[in-house]
């Protein structure tokens, strides 16, 4: 499905990271394993919907929607 980003995933959904829109994705995130081909699972959203708590290929981290909406994915 075209146009999906991490921000558009529902809680519990898994997807494969496809590409990055713009170059605004922090390097730190990439180093933590957020790269093309790795899987991502949305574990939980914070009570006010932001940030999002993720499992990216075995690494647990949280990012803000702002960044999450720039990471394109394909749902599994």
């Amino acid at each position: 499905m075209k146009g999906s980003t991490i921000a558009s995933l529902q809680k519990g959904e898994r997807a494969i990271i496809k590409s990055f829109e713009g170059i605004d994705v922090p390097l730190k995130l990439i180093e933590m394993g957020c790269i093309e081909g790795n899987y991502v699972e949305v574990l939980q959203r914070a009570p006010l919907k932001d940030p999002i708590y993720l499992n990216i290929s075995g690494t647990y981290l949280a990012i803000r929607i702002e960044v999450a909406s720039k990471i394109m994915v394909e749902r599994l």
Partner: protein, 654 residues
């Protein structure tokens, strides 16, 4: 033979510091890298009977790409052969449960051509998690020797030491070789190059792990999801957080009250002793009135600071703090702060100094700067004695409002006021600060862990020590300066105080006479003259010159206020009620109205709530923002605001 130089490096949350503690024990030192604020930890370890090692614990980092100060330090130490800390051997510490990400750093370190050992930590979890590793092939694919260790259970440490002793036999060849031709062709920008290289490193790691690592997926579900369900729940999450917060405050103030009183009286005792046993003279006075109270002024904060570090390090070690950051981020962002600002704001209720240092974790410079600038508004423990004495002067102890003690309510109101103003000024700063920064908020959500007693104890000891020596130097220096300014004065009035007072009050007994001489001397000392000079400025706030002196001295540190007033009203070592009575009976010299009226009291409280009166905080803000600009702005804005609110309050209430 000289010591083998060993560098420990690893991702945050891999237990690297626990391993460091295991290797070195208390035989360690925290310093600073020249010019920057990253902690440098060095320790010594006996490897065997003949050989020992000097071990440097590099800051936790995800990569060697030098995108933060911490990473920069690691890169400088490891890539520059002339660096004084350049190691003979590097130990890369990785967490067995997250090898994929941890090995990324390993492959980068391996590129540097230094003998490298891979220490796989938390090996005690292997059975639990159904993990299996083919050690031999992993060692050959990664061109290294592997030590399975458990810093928690103290296992594998001696094997690791053996590997370090034999460091000369380790390979220095990189394990990951990229194809440079591919790289230079497609990629044009530096950033994309990094990105692509990262991807290829991960591919390499994946291929290694596929051949050597297996995990039984049945054991995947764990404590994490269970605890997360409660701790970051929509309602329970906040409820639990505020309950914990409330308990910490209770503990901070009730538990530390006893040791603080004890320290207070002990130091008063030391001063007495010095006066009683040493010959009279300038040196004895300096010791009894300057140095001993000065050191006491530092030591008295140790209980609170130690408790605060104890709580924060338990919260951090357990992994809970990341959950709080996650819960609070969106709310804090509305005020221009980050979820990570919560730590400094909480710590600020004990002391702004460690609180401002805790703001380092905030990646976004604007959010970090705002946090640093507003943290001093939170009510630190040094304001407490000022609040206590003024409130007791202007509110009768038996006053009740809806059956609550009004004194207590007033104190609580001051805490809320401080926090409220911090949040409000953060909002204003957010509007007016024009800083182009990107939102690089990434926070790792580590596994929940039972904090190791040893780690917590080391953190508390190390940080408390650092506070005592860093802040202590400044507070001590200022106490001595104050003593000099209060003990000497220009002109005849000061040097002939005794004669003048004796003439003016011929019928006082000796004790009263001495008290009168002391206060006359103070009035004509350098500090007294300073107080009189600023009197016209502070008169509209309802203060006389004596309060003025106390205000000046408490720019060094707020808690000096009560002590200064005690000296000025020359009650010396008598009990507190006497100071209070003296203050209550104090009248303005011209109008004969009481000085500590309700209006003046409120005005003092507001002034102390908002003014930036703490040299150590200014020093730390200068260090953390790398210049004088922000601390000076902060000082003038906060103190200006304090003056204004105190002025308005007094003029309305008088």
């Amino acid at each position: 033979m000289s010591d083998i130089k060993v560098a420990l490096i690893g991702n945050p949350n891999t237990g690297k510091t626990s391993l460091f503690n295991r290797l070195t024990g208390l035989n360690q030192k925290v310093g600073n890298y020249p010019g920057i604020t990253v902690d440098k930890k060095v320790g010594h370890s006996k490897l065997n009977k003949a050989i020992s090692a000097e071990i440097i614990d590099l800051p936790g980092t995800y990569s060697l790409n030098a995108s933060s100060l911490d990473e920069d330090v690691a890169v400088q130490v490891l890539s520059d052969k002339t660096n004084e800390n350049y190691p003979d051997v590097v130990v890369v510490v990785v967490d067995i449960e997250n090898l994929k990400r941890n090995l990324y750093l390993y492959t980068q370190v391996k590129d540097l051509g230094i003998p490298t050992i891979l220490a796989v930590n938390m090996a005690d979890q292997m059975k639990n998690r159904g993990i299996d590793i083919d050690m031999q092939s992993m060692e050959s694919l990664l061109e290294t020797k592997i030590a399975l260790v458990s810093s928690k259970q103290n296992k594998g440490i001696s094997f690791l030491k053996k590997l370090i002793v034999d460091y000369k036999s380790l390979s220095t060849v990189p394990c990951f070789i990229d194809e440079p031709s591919v790289l230079s062709k497609i990629v044009n920008t530096e950033k994309k190059k990094h990105h692509l290289e990262t991807v290829r490193r991960y591919q390499f790691i994946k291929s290694v792990l596929e051949k050597t690592y297996s995990q039984d997926p049945q054991n995947a579900k764990d404590l994490r999801s269970l605890l997360d369900r409660v701790l970051i729940h929509k309602y329970f999450g906040y409820l639990i957080f505020f309950t914990i917060l409330f308990s910490i405050f209770q503990a901070l103030f009730s538990w530390s009250a006893f040791p603080m009183d004890y320290i207070d009286s002990t130091f008063a005792g030391f001063s007495e002793m010095a006066r009683a046993h040493l010959p009279e003279g300038v040196f004895t006075n300096l010791l009894a009135e300057g140095i001993i109270p000065g050191i006491g002024g530092v030591v008295i904060f140790i209980p609170q600071i130690a408790f605060l570090f104890l709580f924060t390090s338990v919260l951090e070690e357990s992994g809970y703090m990341s959950r709080v950051v996650f819960l609070m981020d969106k709310i804090m962002r509305k005020f221009g702060l980050s979820g990570k600002s919560i730590v400094p704001l909480i710590s600020g209720t004990a002391c702004a100094i460690p609180a401002i240092m805790a703001a380092r974790n905030i990646e976004n410079w604007k959010e970090r700067l705002i946090t640093i600038l507003v943290t001093p508004f939170t009510t630190c423990s040094a304001r407490l004695p000022v609040y206590a004495i003024i409130i007791s002067l202007i509110v009768p102890a038996e006053a009740r409002f809806m059956s609550f003690n009004v004194q207590g309510l007033m104190l609580m109101a001051l805490y809320l006021l401080g926090f409220g103003v911090a949040i409000l000024s953060a909002m204003l700063l957010d509007k007016f600060l024009k800083l182009e920064t990107k939102s690089y908020f990434v926070i790792e959500m580590p596994n929940y862990k039972l904090p190791l007693f040893k780690n917590v104890a080391y953190t508390v000891i190390e940080k408390t020590k650092a506070f005592v020596f860093e802040a202590g130097k400044i507070i001590l220096a200022i106490s001595i300066l104050l003593w000099v300014l209060a003990s000497y004065g220009p002109g005849k009035d000061f040097s002939h105080a005794k004669e003048i007072v004796t003439q003016n009050y011929p019928d006082l007994n000796e004790e009263e006479l001495n008290a009168e001489i002391a206060s006359y001397k103070l009035e004509n000392s350098y500090i007294g003259i300073m107080g009189k000079t600023i009197e016209p400025v502070i008169r509209p706030l309802g203060y006389d010159w004596k309060i003025g002196v106390a205000v000046i001295t408490s720019f060094a540190a707020r808690e000096v206020f009560v002590g200064t007033l005690a000296t000025i009203y020359s009650v010396g070592s008598e009990e507190e009620s006497t100071i209070k009575d003296r203050m209550r009976n104090e009248v303005f010299q011209d109008s004969k109205k009481p000085v500590y009226s309700f209006a003046t009291g409120v005005s003092i409280l507001l002034f102390y709530a908002f003014a930036m009166q703490c040299m150590s905080t200014i020093a730390i803000v200068k260090r953390e923002t790398n210049g004088w600009k922000w601390p000076l702005i902060q000082m003038f804005v906060m103190s200006g605001f304090a003056y204004l609110t105190a002025l308005i309050a007094y003029q309305i209430l008088k």
